[in-house]
Symmetry: D2
Subunit: 440 residues, 4 copies
């Protein structure tokens, strides 16, 4: 047992600003509002349902996480959002087609109607297939930045919230190579002034959040807060940041199956992954420049889990292919099909095929909720900069410079839970468990 960390109290209201008020954000908002009224359960959310074991297995001390660490309550959340469409949360949720109209949308229609998006900082060139016009217009990047900051402050004042967290729930932007503009706050500032096109909206949102001391969580593969400039700024000012890209369907599965084949020392010769997806996200990703951003986020996973340089015989020659297909008949119900060619003892080949019939926003919403609550916890616990312990939620986790990311879902889970134990001054769990045998 070590000293628990000092954590500021969780009093007052927590403002949650979502960038985007589409399928993910409205599913998040509606779900939380339904849960508050007892009309639905927030399954999928560790902060709401998860448990944590404290002490030895024989202590039989397993607690709800929300009873173990001081998290903001759902009742204290206040919503705000930006979007390129002017639809309120009721209209947007209805259009998204994720939730049942009667039971899950009409039941809270008044609340949803009141959530109207602010105008988005947006330029069409970053997401060609997106056509909304509820934007700040064709203004310079500096003006966009200032407008976002003003939006944050207005939200804070009007809603009388004590703390704010910002989370990116909007589309994938086109691929941007990290470049000179992103290296320092100075170069970033200069690039903003120069309207440099490597400064995408997601970077402006992230920077505005940090300038206002608001934690930022990045649910997309966009650069956003993942640049030396913003990482350094967040660390220096002790503001929690995390990213990138909600780990939901196929990549979630991949970060479970790849650790399995590696644990068992089974080789991999090929991994073919294809997705069909019919929502707005699928439509945006139908543009090759946007898919490239997602692809980068998805492809790295295997290499970093399997470590071909350390296991060349097993993983030195993998043919890895990832596809996303826009397939309208399914709407938000995405589906992944993976074919994995493995080999074992003496090189004999075997195959694993996984068909995952999932739901994009249903899987993402609880991750967004957890990230909001944990980012707020981190800020109150004085943990600034990159929150690597939140890797569990991301396809492409941000980590300290010089570190490789952990993609294995179970290492990520251990990291998260041992971090919670550390915060509260409880022993780390190592699963060594000699004590059960040595005393016999």
């Amino acid at each position: 047992m070590s000293e628990p960390r000092s954590i500021a109290p969780v009093d007052g209201k927590l403002g949650v600003l979502t960038v985007g008020l589409g399928a993910v954000a409205t599913t998040l908002i509606a779900g939380v509002e339904l849960a508050k009224r007892g009309l639905g359960k927030p399954f999928g959310s560790m902060t709401q349902l998860g448990t944590i074991r404290i002490g030895k297995r024989t202590d039989n001390d397993t607690r709800l996480i929300k009873d173990f660490v001081p998290l903001a309550r759902l009742e204290d959340i206040v919503w705000g959002a930006w979007d390129v469409f002017p639809d309120d949360a009721y209209v947007s949720a209805t259009r998204a087609g994720v939730l049942e109209q009667g039971r899950h949308i009409e039941a809270i229609s008044d609340t949803l109607r009141e959530i109207r998006p602010m105008r988005a900082a947006f330029e069409r060139k970053y997401a060609r297939n997106l056509t909304g016009e509820h934007t700040m217009g064709d203004v310079p990047k500096r003006a966009m930045l200032e407008a976002i900051r003003a939006d944050i402050n207005r939200f804070r004042d009007e809603k009388k919230v004590d703390r704010v967290v910002m989370i990116w729930c909007a589309s994938t932007e086109i691929y941007i190579e990290p470049g000179p503009a992103h290296q320092s706050i100075e170069s970033l500032e200069a690039a903003i002034d120069a309207n440099d096109e490597t400064i995408s909206p997601s970077i402006l949102y992230a920077y505005a959040a940090l300038l206002e001391r608001v934690p930022f969580a990045n649910g997309s593969p966009n650069l956003a807060v993942d640049t030396p400039a913003l990482r350094g700024y967040a660390t220096a000012h002790n503001i929690p940041i995390s990213g990138k890209d909600f780990k939901t369907g196929q990549t979630l599965m991949k970060t479970v199956l790849a650790p399995m084949v590696k644990a068992r020392q089974l080789g991999v010769s090929g991994w073919y992954s294809t997705n069909i997806l019919g929502n707005r996200d699928g439509e945006v990703l139908d543009a090759p420049e946007n898919f490239k951003t997602k692809e980068e986020s998805k492809l790295g996973v295997l290499e970093e889990i399997l470590e071909p340089t350390k296991n060349p015989d097993l993983y030195g020659d993998i043919f890895h292919k990832v596809q996303i297909n826009y397939y309208p008949p399914r709407g938000d119900n995405k589906e992944g099909w993976d074919n994995i060619d493995i080999f074992g003892w003496m090189g004999y080949d075997m195959q694993i095929k996984v068909n995952f019939l999932c739901r994009d926003s249903i899987l993402a919403a609880p991750l967004a909720l957890d990230l909001v609550l944990y980012s707020d916890l981190a800020q109150r616990a004085g943990l600034g900069g990159i929150q690597e312990w939140l890797s569990f939620y991301y396809k492409s986790p941000q980590v300290a410079p010089g570190l490789y990311p952990e993609h294995d879902l179970f290492i990520q889970l251990t990291k998260l839970k041992n971090t919670l134990r550390w915060m509260m001054g409880e022993d780390q769990i190592t699963h060594l468990g000699r004590e059960y045998y040595d005393e016999i």
Copy 2:
């Protein structure tokens, strides 16, 4: 860093006695012999290919396990076996149809021809679909026990081996409820004398091994060494034991996917698992009494991972069904199909379907090799009784009385690797990793 454990040197020859010289045992033997000659690689074996990280992530110190802990070398293994068929390892491997005849059997035919099984302690009533007659005959159980002990000693003498490990690679026996006869050595001895039918051959083999101070690993779901009598004896005399039932195809998958849904707080409403399998194991399991033994081993997994009592909303009402179908067209190439009905945020249902086209003996052989080498290591390291750190290899891990078993493959892996670190006096890995961030 703690004190490393004192481990006896690995000099001399290691005798490996397999109960059964069928598909698994011959695939094990042939594979090791091929690997020794550079004619094949022992993929699937952690002791041969696995690595372990020592120290911090930034230390970049990852080592081969076989360089980290003192394991017997493949070159020092000497084989022995019992079987109900008189076929030598060449004939049996050929019949099993697992390995390619030319490249993987003929290439080492001389060695395989020399491995001839001893007569098996066997009674037909424990495996009705098994017809072999190369047995000790219809003799009393006491005589069987003594004959097995004599076989062990003769093997030790003739082959001049320094240490011996016994591993059960034979069929699943009919289901036997643990009863009074299994509670103490005294009652066991009396039951043997009385020819009590709750004393199956696997119990006799396990007891003979322990009487001869030979570690015993149980690749089947049979009772064998998993009784109070034998667990107590093994602990008292400091002999490593472990079991039960090699975790290969579908259950391997289950102990990876169930932890995933649990990590993500996704609920489960149903899990339907079916297998098709055409080898002798499939044939034996076609008898309902034998399948029951396997079924018990397979069904517990979900309950113990998902802990419905701690998560009643998520796992309190799961319909779980497991089937094994004897399907001759496939031979040793077994195939599993799982349909998993899950639900997430607000109760929306999703489905995961997994089709695993695997190979029974190809998956089992490297586990058998690891268990042999780790059991020997445990004995040299003075670790007797139940080896819970070897849970990683078993469908139904043996644990100390009063403990629940860990089924989650990744907890098992952590347990195994942290045990190795502990043996060698290295730090436990907790994945907390605060040091990478606190100094920034």
Copy 3:
């Protein structure tokens, strides 16, 4: 062009009596009522949506079947039913959970509420897992027969219907071997008087229908009308009969894929079929005696399509296994998984795997509608006895003595459509099509 057949006009009302008012019957009834009001479309029904080509391909003369042959209109259907539960069609449809409550049940609740079942002729021993008590009670079989006849006549009078068709939409009974009691009307009559247990309720319903000159269609694998006694009676009195067992999910697929492999001369070494199903039908089939009846119906299909005696090299050694698993999480949404092991050129093996996520009653209801309308057409066209042209709808088609049934879905379709053409005096279509080339 031949002489068209004389067909009685389709004036007046058509009474449809369903044995069973469960999932299939209520889905049928509700669907027809919705379609009548323009609230839903009867997809899946050939009589409502199907087309038929008349003449040469270049004639471009494709017509709706319902415009080509004189079928009763949906508007003229009047419903009646028997069931072991007293629930009206509204309650039963709600319980079945097949149709959406609001859009597809409430919308026609008044009509459904008016359909109340008559007491069923039922004995528990024929379907052990069925517990309803809305029955005629424990009366002799002769009394049951007379009660059913009285029910038919009362229905005819009260509803003022001009013609009646009866269709079995109830559960599968236990397996009954056709025996002496079923050979002639005399032996059948004697057996009824003797309360012989080989006279199941389905036989009584079928016989009652024939005695009242009502066509009978058998949606289950029960013996019902498929005995020498009743076939002979139906032929002698020119009453249309047909059966057995609606061909919906997996068998539908099988009668499409087996013809494919046969067309291509691909061999089959194994076919493993498993089903998960959670409705009342699944529950009844969970009893082995009832499953046997279904299994017989399902197993014959492959043998009769592939004709192993004519193609011993290709189909002489098939391992065929069929399973149905009661799996409540799915309700009426059944799912089939087939693994087919095939081989081609020089014996190389290949695999086909089919996962069919279907809906039991949604697939069955349109078949029931077509059978009702075609049975009525047959009667008006003077076609009595076995209607082999309706094989298209059945897993186990009834055919004339001495004939093998046609299971191939496409031969069945050709037979059905060429029968319609023959009825109307149009040319048979043979697909020879020499005329398109010879005149060039």
Copy 4:
């Protein structure tokens, strides 16, 4: 019974010229040679194993097709080939990796070694990913045409064959829109002289074949013989031609499942098809221009089977996507995955998922054999021009101008078999079968 057609006797040797000596051609050749020696069976070939029913069902007269129509015997086939690689059939078959080396290649190595390809008429621009240099070189198209004709004549003389058939077993060329050059023999001749780039090698091979009165069968989707110019020439000179594109894996499946959903009046909202394939064909198709040719061939199938204009409610809005992925780990073992979104009664949605683990050349070789033998039969029977009755073998069947093609595998089979019956003067089979019932 009509008059049988006059068919020239099948005396003497049949020369088979394959364009391409890659995986398909060597699998064809090796298989036939193995079958001749009794070392393998030509499963998959209708001409070798197929049966045909003659007369009524009760006549019980089912014959082997090769006993019913006069086909060339395997013993009388003599092989010739062109290829861009100089490897003989032994080397090429070994590289292709389709057949087992020992049992199926070494066993007939002498014969395979003797089959050495002639230099191919080839230009890299028609198949960018193909690098072979065993070509006629960079010569004008006119010279290529003449060289092919000279090759045919040399082959005829040297091998002393009585009849010759040519079959395209080579790669898919880039997509070429049929244009003015292809409209008549005059324009074709002019284009050849002008080295017009719309005259691809496949057109030159096809034209050379026709000029030499050699039937031509087109196993690829290339234009080849499918132009007004060559169709007209073949008809005028009574030379059998057929195409396009062997119907093997996924499209075979599609032409079976689409007829099923149509037979059952089930609607289709989406059909997603993806393939993984690692052989040279997969590599060539990795170039978008070549894939386009294949895609055209694959996409038309659904539309022509489902006829959306005749069934707009059911098929008016289908999202159809087809992908082929070059995936080297599998070699020639291709795999298709289809997801089909269907809907039934009242619009309820269902899904069919098909995973076909097949083998490209193993499926194609018997089709090639049948096409060769049936093309030769057609020529001897005096049937020139398009052989629509061979549609059964093609993804994209050639038909008379003004006709729509039949894609339904079972209509194609009926057409083929009724054509054979017509040739031999036997009755057409319509499956009407009234005679079994009318006489009762």
